[in-house]
């Protein structure tokens, strides 16, 4: 039984004619202890999906199962005890901590909400959590504004860990941080994953960060899944033209790479009126009349790799941008 299972999850915001198709028919699972990456550009619905998985938003249709239990119909009160199982880490380290509360209250609140520790034990647990994320026990008496962005993000992680969740949904947890600090937080998340065995749904626009930290990757575009596979499959052997384009477009810290980019033309369409059939067809170099007809079904390839494209994308010439990527990597172990 998977830890988290999304099936046919769909979310629309607003009402016609201003109906936003945020997430459409998304299905995937997160196994215990697994780190799954959700990657996509703006309008891909990746953040919405994270909130739907936690039921911070209501689904338009589809189902969400946590530990096999269906949670899409539960009311907020019934959800409260289940919140111990899944927690969230946010993008903005400044807005995600209440500026009026001390760190001890911010973390302690998580303990209080589920009656996990009182008095001395509570204090000790807060100190333990702070040390777990690389801060000091005496930081508990301080206010958020006394910390740097990276330290605040550590506090946010400590808050999420306080209830000993099985799953953490991390919504762009490093994209607001400087590169040098980003590396610290990525290492911390990996460390926690191995020490605590916590599963993660890691949401990011940055494929390099996703590849570093995730076992499997779900590629989203305009609210739909384009491709699912292991990090290896997605980053070394991408089968969807969009995944390939994303890899080719993401800049590499290698000044010797050819600087002529083979680019995707055009803009991401508005989620108010996504294209018919395959949502990517308006920018796809392989698009044919057939692509506009029906939404391409997920096609299973070997080893759990699946792609929502009816074409053979090997024919696209990305001007060496993908090959280059393969060569400069550390070999997988």
């Amino acid at each position: 039984m998977p830890l988290l299972e999304l099936r046919g999850v769909t979310k629309y915001f607003g009402t016609a004619p201003k109906l936003v198709h945020a997430v459409e028919d998304v299905s995937f699972t997160v196994e215990r202890g697994e780190v799954v990456g959700l990657v996509g550009e703006s309008g891909s619905g990746k953040s919405t999906l994270g909130r739907l998985a936690l039921r911070l938003l209501d689904l338009t249709s589809g189902s969400v199962r946590l530990n096999g239990e269906s949670i899409e119909h539960l009311g907020q009160r019934a959800l409260r005890p289940l919140r111990r199982n899944a927690q969230m880490v946010f993008q903005d380290p400044y807005a995600s901590l209440n500026p009026r509360l001390r760190v001890a209250s911010i973390i302690g609140e998580a303990l209080d909400a589920h009656g996990l520790a009182q008095g001395k034990a509570r204090q000790a647990r807060i100190a333990e959590l702070l040390e777990l994320v690389g801060l000091q026990a005496d930081h508990a008496d301080r206010y958020p504004h006394e910390f740097s962005g990276g330290q605040r993000q550590r506090i946010g992680i400590a808050r999420a860990l306080a209830v000993e969740p099985q799953l953490i949904i991390a919504d762009e947890p490093v994209s607001a941080l400087d590169v040098s600090v980003q590396a610290q937080i990525l290492n911390l998340l990996q460390d926690l994953r191995y020490r605590l065995g916590v599963a993660m749904l890691f949401i990011s626009h940055d494929l390099d960060v996703i590849e570093l930290i995730c076992d499997r990757i779900v590629v989203l575009y305009l609210g739909r899944v384009m491709e699912i596979g292991t990090a290896e499959q997605i980053c070394r052997n991408p089968q969807h033209p969009y995944t390939q384009a994303l890899l080719a477009a993401s800049p590499k810290p290698d000044p010797d790479r050819p600087r002529t980019r083979r680019l995707l033309q055009g803009d991401i369409p508005s989620p108010l009126s996504p294209p018919s059939g395959c949502v990517f067809r308006t920018r796809c170099p392989l698009a044919t009349a057939e692509c506009a007809g029906a939404v391409p079904p997920m096609r299973d390839l070997e080893g759990g790799h699946a792609v929502a494209c009816i074409h053979d994308s090997r024919s696209i010439d990305w001007g060496g941008m993908l090959q280059n990527r393969k060569n400069d990597r550390v070999p997988p172990c």
Partner: protein, 286 residues
């Protein structure tokens, strides 16, 4: 950024607030008025009700600094005592409006289903002129100090409700509120610890403004005879009683009038100062 480590929050707060000298002046005036009112029985030169027919309508002199009224009572003494009633009514109105307005505003802002109901009611009340609504309410309820407080609280609660609601709408969308919901924190705690604490600054600013409005409105109501009964000295009742002698004894309306102006103006200045200090956009510009 790093300069704010050692200084205590209270000192920092006052330092920021008093960067504008006018705010400091306002606070000093306010403190003097409040202290006079509190210490009235010990510092007043005469009794507020002691009539001396021989001393009727004396102009300001060394013995009676602000002159005497039609019954020979000392105007200065009555202004000091009048401050007790005027400021007391102001404080009571502020407390009632803050309580009612904050509760209503938080509910309207947080529970979207109740928003429309509460806000339409608020809009309807705000479409009526303040003083007319207050006169109407006092007329219905009967003229007493308590009813003046009740009427003015009803009149000013919608203002607070609006401010609290709009701040709540902003704060409830912030990630730390979402984080609290994701943790399974109770709605009550979210509304108090996360939202109320973070909308406290605009409420504080409103409190000073409403204090000023209430002092003015009480005077207006008393002057129109729709307020506190004339036997209780307030700045409003003093002007009301003095107006018929205004041609001969201008000090009867001048000094209570000045008391009102100083109290209301210094409260408004304090409110402006607080608002400028607490508004992060303006703070950067300073």
């Amino acid at each position: 950024m790093s300069a704010m480590t050692a200084r205590s929050p209270v000192r920092l707060f006052l330092q920021r607030l008093f960067r504008r000298k006018l705010v400091l002046v306002a606070v000093i005036i306010l403190l003097v008025i409040v202290l006079l009112a509190i210490l009235a029985p010990w510092i007043s030169p005469y009794s507020p009700t002691g009539m001396r027919v021989s001393q009727r309508l004396r102009p300001p002199s060394l013995t009676n600094w602000f002159g005497t009224d039609e019954f020979g009572r000392d105007v200065l003494t009555r202004i000091i005592y009048g401050g007790r009633a005027s400021l007391g009514i102001g404080v009571a109105v502020v407390m009632c409006t803050m309580l009612a307005g904050t509760v209503l505003g938080l509910i309207a802002g947080y529970f979207r289903a109740l928003d429309a109901v509460i806000m339409r009611l608020v809009d309807a009340m705000m479409s009526l002129p303040d003083i007319l609504l207050a006169i109407f309410l006092v007329a219905v309820l009967g003229a007493s100090a308590g009813n003046v407080v009740l009427a003015l609280s009803i009149v000013y609660t919608p203002r607070v409700t609006r401010v609290v609601r709009s701040s709540t709408l902003v704060v409830r969308e912030l990630p730390f509120v979402e984080a609290a919901r994701a943790l399974g924190v109770s709605t009550w705690r979210i509304m108090t610890m996360h939202i109320l604490l973070n909308v406290a600054s605009p409420i504080l600013v409103q409190a000073t403004f409403i204090f000023a409005y209430a002092v003015l409105a009480e005077a207006g109501l008393s002057f129109l005879g729709a307020g506190v009964p004339p036997d209780i000295p307030t700045w409003g009742t003093m002007i009301a009683a003095g107006q018929q002698y205004a041609d001969r004894a201008v000090w009867l309306v001048l000094f209570p009038g000045l008391a009102i102006v100083f109290a209301a103006l210094s409260l408004q200045l304090l409110g402006d100062g607080l608002r400028d200090m607490l508004d992060p956009k303006l703070r950067k510009a300073l």
